[in-house]
């Protein structure tokens, strides 16, 4: 228990100064760290042929983002298909099938890292580094850039309201300046520090191929054991700090080579929430609305602690399949001895709150209620959330709460002094409602055709496996109930659709919303305005999140994990 409290405390204590730094990085002018990083960034800008101070409208910003992602997707797709005939492939790994390469490219392009393959056996070092690691650095940076663009457009800097410029077009910033700063000044330095700590704990760092050893017990019918290594530490570090989650080895950070000790587990757990939490503080520093940031942080911590407690309680209960067959103890099926049930449940909850999706134990083998927590975390997806996109998603709920709240107090709906009208609310509804529509729609079709599901577990849990997979894809999480046989054309293609829509609609719709709001004349915030930085409004937002989630997903939770739990109790 102390372990959990300390990890929460350390994470939030580190997130505060990091958030302050991130806000300073994106402040006007050259930003924090410019003396070290600016010359390097200027080289990048000249290689790119862009002028970083050129203003972009929201459409221009969105197009630049989408085009960069599309080109990266083509490069990575090509690498995955052709890795078998390319270099840096000491273990002689073949190229992927088209559907698996498509799913993998889209999955990493969307900061999801859902894996329908096992890395140590199906990716060359070339594909792992130049393909996967590239996307693991670039995609969280893109999320951070989009968040910064949205925040400064809506809330402005130093608390000043943004007013439309003379021509009527609103600049949201320059995409390449934002993403370059996010990569160079935030993602790479943090990842490098984490990687070196992990290296000290035993995460491999080598371009040599697998090592072959002769096991000790000659009677155990195992003549040799091949130990896959590689440039693992840099990938594991960015996978954790970048809300990516896709591991080098198939079972992710449960593998001792990827997460060797309780110390590496501590560092990796903190890394899951570090930047997402830092961005909440950064929001306050960037806009001068410190109270708003505190309220948002309060709501997120309440959601995080509530759900994590349920998971920890559940996993410390015995696994029903062991009853009467073993000494009393927590559920250790799919868990590692060095971590135990509590640290694994904490990780399982945090990784799904943040759209990270790495695991240090198998969620498929969690007790039913313990396995329900990651699903609920992903339905909500704004408890810290993915880098950038978490706060952007929270912002949608905030708009909805402001709309409802304004109506409740009998005023024309507004936010930050800007009127909330039909166009904005339509976009909010599209961005929010597409989630249950896609997850439930695809799940219903898949469950209706048992040949498609590839279930490995029977009964209610089989339904949970399907729901979990689509939820994880849309939430850009990437964890799974991994018993599912998901490397099929059906799963690869339908998940790719969910991945892409789950990433880009929740980024582009809010960009359009803030640009639309910013183009309106603002009224000064006065006594009658809705105070979005009050605890009351925080509670209102929390209530909106809870109600929206329950209304959308309560029926499937009853069909899946709750029915399974009740069946096991009887």
């Amino acid at each position: 228990m102390n372990e959990v409290i300390i990890i929460y405390a350390v994470t939030l204590l580190l997130a505060w100064p990091l958030g302050k730094y991130i806000a300073a990085v994106f402040s006007d002018g050259a930003g924090a760290g410019s003396r070290i990083f600016l010359p390097f960034e200027n080289t990048i800008y000249s290689l790119l042929g862009v002028n970083p101070s050129e203003p972009m409208s929201w459409q221009g910003y969105g197009k630049a983002l989408l085009k960069l992602h599309l080109v990266l997707a083509l490069i990575v797709f090509g690498l995955l298909m052709a890795q078998g005939i390319l270099f840096l492939n000491p273990d002689n790994i073949d190229g992927m099938s088209w559907d698996l390469a498509l799913h993998t490219a889209v999955s990493f392009l969307t900061n999801t890292n859902q894996q329908h393959y096992s890395g140590q056996a199906q990716l060359s070092y070339l594909a792992h580094t130049f393909g996967i690691v590239t996307l693991q650095v670039v995609t969280p940076a893109a999320g951070m850039a989009a968040l910064v663009a949205i925040v400064r457009t809506l809330l402005g800097r130093s608390g000043k309201n943004v007013q439309p410029s003379a021509g009527g077009t609103v600049s949201v910033g320059n995409f390449y300046e934002d993403i370059t700063r996010a990569i160079v000044r935030v993602m790479l330095p943090v990842a490098t520090a984490v990687a070196l700590v992990l290296a000290s704990q035993g995460v491999p760092n080598s371009y040599e191929g697998a090592r072959t050893i002769t096991p000790l017990d000659q009677t155990a019918e195992m003549n040799e054991q091949n130990i896959p290594i590689g440039p693992v530490a840099p990938m594991v570090a960015i996978k954790q700090v970048g809300t990516n989650g896709g591991g080098w080895y198939g079972p992710n950070s449960s593998v001792p080579l990827e997460n060797p000790t309780p110390v590496s587990n501590f560092v990796q757990t903190v890394s899951i929430v570090l930047i997402p939490a830092a961005l909440v503080f950064a929001l306050g520093f960037l806009t001068g609305r410190r109270r708003l940031a505190q309220v948002i942080m309060g709501v997120m911590v309440v959601m995080s602690v509530s759900l994590t407690s349920v998971a920890i309680w559940s996993e410390n209960q015995p696994n029903a399949a062991f009853s009467g067959l073993a000494a009393d103890g927590p559920n250790l099926e799919g868990k590692e001895v060095r971590f135990g049930a509590t640290a694994t449940a904490l990780w399982g909850s945090w990784t799904t709150q943040t759209s990270n999706g790495s695991v240090n134990g198998m969620h498929d083998s969690f007790n039913p209620i313990g396995g329900m927590v990651p699903m609920v975390d992903m339905f909500i997806n704004v408890t810290f959330g993915g880098i950038g996109v978490g706060l952007i998603g929270y912002f949608l709920f905030l708009l909805l709460a402001a709309f409802l709240g304004s109506l409740m107090i009998g005023r024309a709906p507004e936010i930050a002094g800007k009127p909330l009208e039909t166009k904005e609310i339509k976009l909010v509804c599209i961005a929010l409602l597409i989630q249950p529509m896609l997850i439930l729609g695809f799940s219903a079709v898949t469950v209706a055709f048992p040949a498609l599901t590839g279930n490995s577990n029977p009964g209610f849990h089989g339904i949970s496996q399907v729901i979990y997979e689509y939820t994880s894809a849309f939430a850009n999480n990437g964890s799974g109930f991994e018993g599912l046989n998901d490397d099929s054309i059906w799963w690869n293609v339908t998940c790719a659709v969910n991945l892409a829509l789950g990433r880009f609609i929740p980024i582009l719709a809010p960009l359009a919303i803030v640009a639309s709001l910013a183009a309106k004349r603002s009224a000064p915030e006065g006594r009658g305005s809705l105070g979005i930085d009050t605890a009351t409004f925080g509670l209102m937002t929390l209530a909106v999140i809870v109600m929206f989630t329950l209304l959308s997903f309560m029926p499937v939770l009853i069909l899946g994990p709750i029915a399974e739990a009740l069946a096991l109790m009887s």
């Binding site: 290689l47 670039v138 320059n174 090592r211 000790l216 440039p231 309780p262 135990g340 577990n457 029977p458």
Partner: protein, 200 residues
């Protein structure tokens, strides 16, 4: 690709910039970053960099981080593995608690272990019956080691107190008393039983 109505304002959003950015980021994030970390990490931590291998008399006998399969009575045995301790096919069972196959597997293993160690099934620690997440968990709990002490001592014809001393010596506690769980590295304690020095 400039927007028609605003001229050069959107020049940065061109396809050419996107292609150049993609190439630069691939080289920076996928090339330089992993290369620097791997080089520096490999120099600072050479033993860890290549898989924490255990080398005895110039033979690589295993990795501290990769469990092995043990069947002989003279050795401590590790946890059930859904991957059969093959590091290239790592993975857990992914059995749900409600899956009858899980209960069948646990029942069979529990009977075998209880027979082998001469105890009741109710005293077999959970970790010795639960498959790990990785399939190559190198550890067992100290309770699981103690359960096997008598059998190991008998097979080696040595006093059980020697084996218990070794368990105490090889039990790692939580880091700083807080992080992680108490555990015994099965390969390392078995090497010690064989009288092989463990050298980094």
């Amino acid at each position: 690709m400039a927007d028609s109505n605003t001229g050069s304002v959107y020049r940065s959003a061109s396809w050419l910039s996107a292609a150049r950015a993609a190439l630069v980021f691939v080289l920076l994030c996928g090339g330089l970053y992993p290369f620097l970390v791997t080089t520096v990490g490999g120099m600072l931590f050479p033993h860890q960099a290549t898989g924490s291998l255990i080398v005895i008399d110039d033979d690589i006998v295993g990795s501290e981080l990769v469990g092995q399969r043990f069947k002989a009575a003279k050795y401590f045995h590790g946890r059930p593995s859904a991957a059969d301790y093959d590091p290239f096919s790592v993975g857990g069972s992914n059995y749900a608690a409600s899956n009858p196959d899980l209960r069948a597997r646990v029942a069979e293993d529990a009977r075998d272990i209880a027979d082998r160690e001469g105890v009741e099934v109710e005293s077999v620690p959970v970790d010795l019956l639960a498959a790990s997440g990785s399939g190559i968990d190198p550890h067992i709990s100290p309770e699981s080691a103690q359960l096997q002490a008598m059998r190991v001592a008998t097979a080696r014809d040595i006093p059980v107190s020697n084996v218990n001393d070794l368990i105490a010596q090889y039990t790692e506690g939580p880091t700083m008393g807080i992080f992680g769980q108490p555990r015994v590295n099965v390969l390392r304690i078995n090497l010690a039983l064989d009288g092989k020095e463990f050298l980094d």
